[in-house]
Symmetry: C2
Subunit: 153 residues, 2 copies
């Protein structure tokens, strides 16, 4: 697959907004026959543009009212610190995202917990328990100005 044309982009945008739309509905919106639309969708999946579909769930409804960002600095002299940290973070259910950044610290962690006491135990059990973690800075989210937007395609 070489590149995306206007219809492909349209499909991606529509499915970002409503990923459970029927193929017939999608075909209407992009202006193609259902068959052609289905072929394009399958192609977009197989070529890796679409990696999957997921339900969006309201975190507050399931008792995850507190969103927290944590800046983590590692001690560079500790062997395997980065490896062990990566592994632990990937296994942690509370951690939604974790990125290695360039700048004043090493990792930026995005986690969801029920409340501050839950975060306290998470911080102690998961983050501070790891070897090589030298410093953490916690930023609780007071207001989610823009919760989660689609990719601009």
């Amino acid at each position: 697959m070489t590149e995306l044309d206007r219809v492909d982009r349209r499909i991606l945008n529509e499915l970002q907004a409503d990923g459970r739309m029927t193929n017939a509905e999608l075909a209407d919106r992009v202006g193609l026959a259902p068959t052609s639309t289905s072929e394009r969708l399958k192609r977009l999946q197989k070529s890796g543009y679409i990696t999957g579909f997921s339900a969006r769930i309201d975190p507050h409804m399931v008792g995850l009212g507190l969103l927290v960002f944590v800046e983590v600095s590692l001690d560079k002299t500790t062997p395997d610190a980065f490896d062990k940290f990566s592994r632990a973070v990937r296994q942690s259910r509370e951690v939604l995202e974790c990125h290695m950044v360039a700048g004043g610290f090493d990792y930026l962690v995005k986690a969801r917990v029920t409340d501050m006491s839950h975060y306290r135990t998470f911080l102690g059990d998961v983050l501070l328990n790891l070897p090589g973690v030298s410093e953490t800075r916690t930023y609780p989210v007071m207001e989610e100005v823009k919760p989660e937007g689609p990719l601009p395609i």
Copy 2:
């Protein structure tokens, strides 16, 4: 709707993993008849647990290879600074998320751009152009250790 039972939780988890699963497949996985499963799913949507469905798209495939986090501090003396910043950020296509945090700065912005030069123009046109923005710190992501996880339900 009062609370979630085991089956509801199962439905949420399955649909977080594959939101386009057919209702028949979902029924198999949760161990109910398709009709009952459909009723539960509809209830979960109407009561607000499920806010929608979306396709997961590989950012690199659509030319959004650079993920950036930006810490933004506002000048508290500028009138409407927070309002104007919120509005601008919600309209910006590059901004995927924006959160007002407690701690050393005011907003944490997550944005996706094609490359550094794109980010440079985004920073100048969107963020620094706003009244009341007193300071920004940019953290480019070098490695996405955990790109995006499901909510732990």
